[in-house]
C-alpha cells in the first residue's frame, strides 16, 4: 500500500500534519518509536515518571555520544550511557509535548530577522529566517484555537502583533503569591505578564479541563487539558499510528524518497511507501536519520548535498534561579496562601527582550516564574547537605527535611535566551557506537557562545531583584552553558540558499521533491522563548503547503 503521507515522529512537529491532512481526506501514516498511552495511564507516580524515567529509552539500549568543548578549546568525549547523560525526551505517541509545561510564548517579529536587527555576531552563524512573523502569525492563532492556549493578552513593551484581541480560553487559576509578585514588579518598574499556557482551564475542544493536580510539567496530563500533540491532535484524526516503529533509514532515487525502513517491536525490518514523507523525530534524531541514510545519490547523507545537515544545532540558553519563602516571615493567612497546592504561578517578564548595555543593543529574552516542582522525593534529596556542605543523616536529616518542606516554599525562575548557532555545535554520527537496533548513534557536539552566558546572567539578575523585592530568602541563580535536552532545535535549518541550508522556506528539502522536516530542526535561530508553540505553528503552516501540493 502506498500512503499519501508518511510521518516519522508523532510529536509537536509531526502531529499537525497528521491532523490536517488526514482530516482533509488523505491517507496518512505516522511511525512512532515509543508506545501509545492513554490518559488513564498518566498517574502522578514520581517513582515511575521522574525517578525511573518511564517515558524515555534506557541509555544502555539507546544513547548519544557527547563531545563537550571546554573554554580552552579542548573537547571531552562522554558516552551518554556511562555518564547517564540523556538527551531523550518523551518517547511515546505525542512525543515530549505530553510532558511539557506548556509555557506558550510566541516568538517576536525581530526573532525572525535577528541578523538584520542586531547585526553580525563574531563566532555565531546568525541569519534571518526565510519567513517573517507575519507569515507565521495566522498559524500561531490557529494553535491557540485548535491546541488550546489560555491566558490574558496584555499589552507590554515587547508585545507581538496579534490578529485576534484575546486568547480563546480564559486564564488558569493562580496562587495568591502572584499578587506579591505583581506588586514587587510594580515597585521595580517591571511589567508582570500573565504567562499563556497550553492548558485548558475548563472542558473544551472535546477534552477535560485542568484538574490542578500540582504535577503538570514533566508529567503527562491525565485529563487531556494540556495541549499535547496526542490529546489535541492525534486523537482527533484518522491518521494511522504505528507504535514501537524505529525508522532507521530513508531510501530514495535521485530526486524523491521512495520508502522508509523501520524496525517493528519484534525487531523485524519493515518498509512504508508514500508520496510525501515528513520527518519530525526531534532535532537530534532527525539529523541522525538523514546522516545515517547515505546512498549513491546522497553520499553525505539524505538531503545533505550542502553538507549542512546536523549543523547549527541550538538549544535554549539561559538557566534558572530560586528564592525561598519561609513561614517565620509570613502571617498565618500568607502561609496558607503560599502552601495552597495545585494553583499555578504563571508569571513572566519580557521587559528585556532586547536591551542596551555599554552602548550596544543585545537580544535579551524571557523569564518565566513558577513554583518549585512538587516532586517530594526530589525535594527531600536536596536536603542531604548541611550549610557547611557536609552530608547529613539520621535525626538531623529528618529535622531538616521536615522544616524545609513543611514550613517554606520555593519560587523558581527559568531564563530563556538565544543559544547562538556556531560551527562547533552540531550533530554527527558516531559510526562505531551502535544502539540496540545496531544503528550508529548520534554524536552531539556541544559548544556555547560566550554571549549566551552574558545575556543569561543579565536576565537572571533581573529575576533575582524581583525575588528579593518579594522578600524571598536564599535567593540564587545559576546560568550555565549546559544544554537543556528538552529545548533543542536546528540541524536542518531552512533558508533560500540551497548551499547554506537544508530546507527551503516551506521546510521541504532542497535536494528532494517529497521530503519535509517539521520538528524544530528547521529553526536557524531559536528565539528567546520555549519552542513548542512555534513548532506547532510552523507544522500547521507546512501542512497547508503539503495539502496544496497533494491536491495539485
Amino acid at each position: 500500500m502506498k500512503y499519501d503521507v508518511c510521518i516519522v515522529g508523532s510529536g509537536a512537529g509531526g502531529s499537525p500534519i497528521a491532523y490536517e491532512l488526514s482530516n482533509a481526506g488523505f491517507n496518512v501514516v505516522v511511525l512512532e518509536k515509543g508506545k501509545n498511552y492513554t490518559e488513564s495511564d498518566f498517574s502522578k507516580d514520581e517513582l515511575a515518571v521522574s525517578r525511573r524515567e518511564k517515558f524515555t529509552p534506557l541509555l544502555k539500549d539507546e544513547k548519544h555520544i557527547i563531545y563537550d568543548r571546554e573554554k580552552d578549546g579542548s573537547v571531552k568525549r562522554y558516552d551518554g550511557a556511562e555518564y547517564s547523560w540523556s538527551f531523550w525526551n518523551g518517547s511515546m505517541v505525542g512525543g515530549s509535548s505530553n510532558l511539557m509545561s506548556g509555557y506558550f510564548h510566541r516568538m517576536k517579529p525581530d526573532d525572525f530577522r535577528l541578523l538584520s536587527t542586531y547585526g553580525k555576531i563574531e563566532g555565531a552563524n546568525v541569519v534571518d529566517w526565510a519567513i517573517s512573523y507575519e507569515e507565521l502569525e495566522p498559524y500561531y492563532e490557529k494553535v491557540e484555537r485548535v491546541v488550546g492556549v489560555s491566558g490574558v493578552v496584555a499589552k507590554h513593551k515587547f508585545s507581538e502583533p496579534r490578529s485576534t484581541p484575546r486568547f480563546p480560553f480564559p486564564a488558569l487559576e493562580v496562587n495568591v503569591v502572584t499578587e506579591w509578585f505583581d506588586a514587587s514588579c510594580k515597585e521595580l518598574g517591571f511589567e508582570s505578564i500573565q504567562t499563556p499556557r497550553a492548558v485548558l482551564p475548563k472542558s473544551a475542544l472535546g477534552r477535560n479541563g485542568c484538574s490542578y493536580s500540582n504535577f503538570c510539567g514533566s508529567y503527562a496530563c491525565a485529563t487531556g487539558a494540556k495541549g499535547s500533540a496526542r490529546a489535541a491532535l492525534l486523537q482527533k484524526c484518522s491518521a494511522k499510528i504505528i507504535t514501537e516503529a524505529f525508522v532507521y533509514r530513508l531510501e530514495s532515487d535521485s530526486s524523491k524518497i521512495t520508502k522508509v525502513h523501520y524496525y517493528d517491536k519484534d525487531l523485524n525490518s519493515q518498509t512504508i511507501e508514500a508520496k510525501i514523507f515528513v520527518l519530525s523525530a526531534q532535532a537530534i534524531e532527525s539529523s541522525r536519520l538523514l546522516l545515517n541514510s547515505k546512498s549513491k545519490f546522497f553520499p553525505k547523507g539524505m538531503a545533505n548535498s550542502s553538507g549542512e545537515v546536523g549543523k547549527n544545532l541550538i538549544f535554549s540558553a539561559g538557566g534558572s534561579g530560586q528564592g525561598r519563602f519561609e513561614f517565620e516571615n509570613l502571617s498565618q493567612k500568607q502561609q496558607e496562601g503560599l502552601m495552597q497546592p495545585g494553583l499555578f504561578f504563571n508569571r513572566s517578564l519580557q521587559d528585556w527582550y532586547d536591551y542596551e548595555e555599554d552602548d550596544k543593543c543585545y537580544k535579551g529574552g524571557t523569564i518565566d516564574f513558577l513554583f518549585e516542582h512538587a516532586n517530594v522525593i526530589s525535594r527531600a534529596t536536596r536536603e542531604f547537605y548541611n550549610e557547611d556542605g557536609e552530608i547529613i543523616w539520621g535525626e538531623e536529616l529528618k529535622q531538616k527535611i521536615h522544616k524545609t518542606l513543611s514550613t517554606s516554599r520555593v519560587l523558581t525562575f527559568e531564563v530563556f535566551n538565544d543559544w547562538l548557532p556556531t560551527d562547533e555545535c552540531f550533530v554527527s554520527i558516531e559510526e562505531q557506537s551502535k544502539d540496540k537496533f545496531g544503528v550508529s548513534v548520534g554524536a552531539i557536539n556541544l559548544s556555547g557562545h560566550p554571549q549566551d552566558l552574558e545575556v543569561g546572567r543579565y536576565l537572571a539578575k533581573k529575576a533575582v531583584k524581583v525575588l528579593e523585592e518579594m522578600g524571598a530568602k536564599d535567593v540564587s541563580m545559576s546560568i550555565s552553558a549546559s544544554p537543556p535536552p528538552n529545548l533543542v532545535a536546528g540541524g536542518c535549518r531552512f533558508g533560500d540558499d540551497a548551499k547554506k541550508s537544508v530546507l527551503d522556506r516551506n521546510c521541504k528539502a532542497h535536494d528532494l521533491e517529497n521530503l519535509y522536516v517539521t520538528d524544530a530542526s528547521f529553526m536557524p535561530t531559536g528565539g528567546s522563548v520555549p519552542y513548542t508553540w512555534t513548532i506547532y505553528a510552523n507544522s500547521f503552516r507546512v501542512a497547508d503547503i503539503i495539502k496544496k501540493s497533494l491536491i495539485s
Binding site: 498518566f42 498517574s43 502522578k44 507516580d45 514520581e46 517513582l47 515511575a48 525517578r51 525511573r52 524515567e53 518511564k54 534506557l58 541509555l59 544502555k60 547517564s84 484538574s211 493536580s213 500540582n214 504535577f215 508529567y219 491525565a222 497546592p341 512538587a374 517530594v376 522525593i377 527531600a380 534529596t381 542531604f384 557536609e390 552530608i391 543523616w393 539520621g394 535525626e395 536529616l397 529528618k398 527535611i401 521536615h402 518542606l405 513543611s406
Partner: protein
C-alpha cells in the same frame, strides 16, 4: 522465561551474591550483603522504621529493577564490601557486629571518601523513594511520610507499579 521469573532471578542473584571482605593482609570474611545493607539503612534514617516502611523489600525491588543499571546495582553491593572493610580496619569486626556508636564512627569515616559520600547519598535517596512511594509498590502501606509533611500526593494515583 517470564518477566516475573526473570526479576526473581535477578533479585536472587544480587542478594545471594557473596561479598568478600578483605582484612589488612587476607580475606577477613565472606558475607551476604543483606544484613549489612539493612542495618546501614536503619542507621542512616531510622525514622523510616517509625513510618513502617519496609526498606529491605524496597532494596530488593531496586536490585531487581529493569530501569536501574547494573553499574548502579554493583555500586550498592561494592559499598557493602567497602563499608565492612572500613569496619574491619577500625574495629576488626564486621559492620553488623559493631555497636551503634561504632557504626556511626564508621559512617563518619567513610563519608570522608568520595565513594562513601556517594554511597550514603545513594542509600538515602532510595530511602526517600521508599518513604514517599505510593503504596502500590508494597513497601509503604500507610504512607505516613506524606502525612508527616502534610503533602498531598498527585492524582490520579498509579494503579500499577513500574518494576
Amino acid at each position: 522465561m517470564s518477566s516475573n521469573s526473570r526479576r526473581t532471578f535477578l533479585k536472587a542473584s544480587f542478594l545471594s551474591t557473596v561479598v568478600v571482605v578483605m582484612g589488612a593482609y587476607d580475606i577477613f570474611d565472606k558475607i551476604k550483603p543483606s544484613p549489612s545493607l539493612n542495618l546501614v539503612q536503619k542507621d542512616l534514617f531510622p525514622f523510616a522504621q517509625e513510618l513502617n516502611v519496609n526498606m529491605p523489600q524496597y532494596m530488593s525491588i531496586i536490585l531487581a529493577h529493569s530501569r536501574i543499571s547494573e553499574t548502579d546495582k554493583e555500586f550498592i553491593l561494592n559499598g557493602v564490601k567497602w563499608l565492612n572493610e572500613e569496619a574491619v580496619a577500625m574495629y576488626e569486626k564486621l559492620y553488623t557486629k559493631l555497636t551503634s556508636n561504632e557504626r556511626q564512627s564508621v559512617l563518619k569515616n567513610i563519608v570522608q571518601e568520595s565513594w562513601g559520600e556517594s554511597w550514603i547519598s545513594t542509600l538515602l535517596t532510595y530511602t526517600m523513594e521508599a518513604i514517599f512511594s505510593d503504596k502500590i509498590y508494597g513497601v509503604n502501606p500507610q504512607e505516613k511520610a506524606h502525612k508527616w509533611l502534610a503533602f498531598d500526593m498527585g492524582l490520579p494515583r498509579p494503579t500499577k507499579a513500574l518494576l
